[in-house]
Symmetry: C2
Subunit: 429 residues, 2 copies
């Protein structure tokens, strides 16, 4: 397909008719496919089935019986594994639960209900539910669950443009410096959701050093894809150390989980932060639970023999399953849209998603008609706070779950839907 | 030992000297024992080891792959099992997580941050962090974790005397009717912690029907020992139905877990409440997790073959291990203290604890000197809000964890410590 806008009116009409015929043909197949879910397929999960084997010895280090109560902040051997894997100090973390999202929610709940030491660890700040509504900076496009959980607490979400190497830091610094109700920023440092970009060291330093009008300004650092390489390996900047060196040892909350390392529903979550804040979190945690489930914790340690290198090796196996799916999608997008001006995207460097932009005002329509033809997509707008994409152009593609065969059919419907929606819109104007 | 107070001064002095000699002898053995922990011993846990076997088929009902994300409010087959076991409607529950305490904490967090529909389900009430501090009625002696989690949110804890068949309802009704800041009451309906008493149907009805000045007055109904019979079987009143019939369908929060059914650290928790409140809870829950760990859920269903009768059968096996421990303790207390006036207790009807009262002003001293002689006890005062027992006389004994042999040594130290502390106090006056 040539650049559509350089074609004459008649050729454009023909192209629209072709697109409609193709779309109708696909719709007639009554397929039921799903490109919305950021979760691995059974092919990737099978690499971790060993973790479901019998647990013959249920004693952890120091003789701890993992069947019984206790060990509120997680097994020491699992903390050491995570410390080796991520470069986060074992003393500053809580591990447990199956979900880093729950740690994020709990962290917000603590900040809203009780406040926390300020970024420098010097004083106690007020609970965030008092005074003006907290504002949270949200790099866009970004992760809907970050936005929605912040909004649940009544935070006002403020869009910050994402650039190739992270958030627009000029804008973030300007807003945080001038407004004491700006209380934090979301960051996915490695393989951002949805663009798959990598935060530069320079921008990480600016996050650690930036002056904020709110003394308890926080960086919510979700390293969800911290070891989820697809091609070249990248590393997230060491934000906790950077914050320490900048004089804000309590500024960052670091989140991670093994949800997409072994089993999404049955991984182990982690939160790490400054020494004063982690102590505060443990005080509340002890009132919240007598201890997380230690059986998945021990299984995780055993499955990887306690070694970070075994986790990395495991991730290379998963990448072998995921990489062809990403390459298939990108090859297909290049073939269908290269040079047409109807769709653009940046190649992700890793992670779980491909972020595409269709012509302005078309994203909702694309998702709607793709769904009608049998291909579920992430709702248009989901990558923006309040589900509102101001240009209505961004769509998140999640290629990890379907088989390659299903992916081919789904991409067929998606590409046909983009062409139909875009050409209809242009030619109607 | 005769009734000490009827002895002459010289005999009393001799008794004190005997008690001191016995205590010193025990202390010289340098034992390290623990009677503080309300958790089962390895002997009881071993009955559930089958649950740690290999999970060959990881598909739940409807083909759900329990390894992956999703099913935020828990597996339907587990809800049905709990519905059969407890008589709680499957449609009104959230199951998941390893801890009912976490459900309690989350429930308080929701009430404090967001409020909830009122008891009648008619209107939205204000978040509890606004206005006057909420007051929570705490039957005493009671469970320290209930008290401490409430206090974490800033609630003011108000003591209500426990009677043989539940809280003093005259007092509860009087306080709730007259003060709109009284927002709730804690209740352990079956085998209360620590006295092991059973709530009467009459008092349950009064809880369901009582007029409260706060429209969002709540009953926090922790049925922690709902199937934990030791001798005769009792049943908790059906509080959710009673509240419905009384016109307050949203009044009660019902908590349960399998923590002391199979593994304390690795059970499955449950919260159930009225239909409007449960929907509200799910809205927040969806922002908090993509789903609880479904592997323990599926294992629980498989281990009991989905049948409530198998849970009950399993509990009779555990009772066979626990009962001799309770009987040993009570026989020993009867033999050492019968008719002395130095210690009193009511025989628990089930559950995990024996609640004893030593002479006023002696409990702290008993716990202190028992600890010095090598027997750790639950801290005196723990069974009261803020750790303050106004009479300094109640001590919670947790006989479930130690072996019978350790229990004998521990009781030796405990009894000697009670006698020494009590006689020293009396004779010093």
């Amino acid at each position: 397909m040539p650049i559509w806008s350089e074609l004459g009116k008649k050729d454009q009409q023909e192209l629209l008719a072709e697109s409609r015929a193709r779309y109708d043909g696909l719709k007639a197949r009554s397929l039921r496919l799903d490109l919305s879910r950021g979760k691995p397929g059974p092919d990737a999960l099978d690499f971790s089935n060993g973790i479901l084997g019998a647990l013959e010895d249920y004693h952890a280090e120091g003789g701890i019986d993992v069947r019984n109560y206790g060990v509120v902040d997680g097994l020491p051997e699992l903390k050491r594994l995570f410390a080796d894997l991520l470069g986060v100090p074992a003393g500053n973390m809580i591990v447990g639960g199956n979900s880093s999202l729950t740690h994020m929610y709990n962290t917000f709940a603590m900040l809203y209900l009780f406040g926390a030491p300020d970024g420098m660890g010097d004083m106690d700040c007020r609970p965030w539910h008092r005074g003006d509504a907290a504002k949270i900076l949200c790099p866009v496009p970004g992760y809907d669950r970050h936005f929605n959980l912040s909004a649940d607490f009544g935070a006002k979400l403020v869009n910050i443009p994402m650039e190739k190497d992270g958030p627009d830091m000029d804008e973030a610094e300007r807003l945080a410096a001038s407004d004491p109700s700006v209380k934090g920023i979301w960051v996915v440092p490695l393989y951002s959701n949805p663009a798959g970009s990598v935060l530069s060291r320079e921008k990480a330093l600016r996050l650690a050093c930036m002056k904020a009008a709110a003394p308890d300004f926080r960086v919510f650092w979700d390293n969800a894809y911290g070891v989820h390489h697809l091609w070249e390996e990248h590393e997230a900047p060491d934000i906790l150390s950077m914050c320490c060196e900048a004089g804000y040892p309590e500024r960052a909350f670091y989140f991670f989980s093994t949800s997409k390392v072994n089993f999404p529903g049955s991984g182990v979550g982690l939160v790490a932060t400054g020494p004063k804040t982690i102590e505060r979190m443990k005080v509340h945690l002890k009132l919240q639970t007598i201890g997380f489930d230690k059986i998945p914790q021990l299984r995780t340690v055993r499955f990887f023999d306690g070694k970070a290198e075994n986790v990395r090796l495991h991730m290379t196996k998963l990448a072998k399953v995921l990489r062809p799916k990403f390459e298939f999608v990108m090859d297909r997008l290049d073939a269908e849209f290269g040079g047409t001006g109807l769709l653009s995207y940046e190649r992700p460097l890793g992670g779980y998603f491909i972020s595409v932009d269709v012509p302005e005002g078309c994203a909702k329509k694309v998702v709607e008609i793709a769904s009608e033809a049998g291909a579920a997509l992430t709702p248009a707008g989901a990558t923006f706070p309040y589900g509102k994409d101001p240009k209505d152009s961004n769509i998140r593609i999640a290629p990890t779950f379907p088989s390659l065969e299903d992916l081919a059919d789904t991409l067929d419907i998606f590409c046909a839907s983009v062409k139909l929606a875009a050409l209809e819109k242009y030619l109607a104007v």
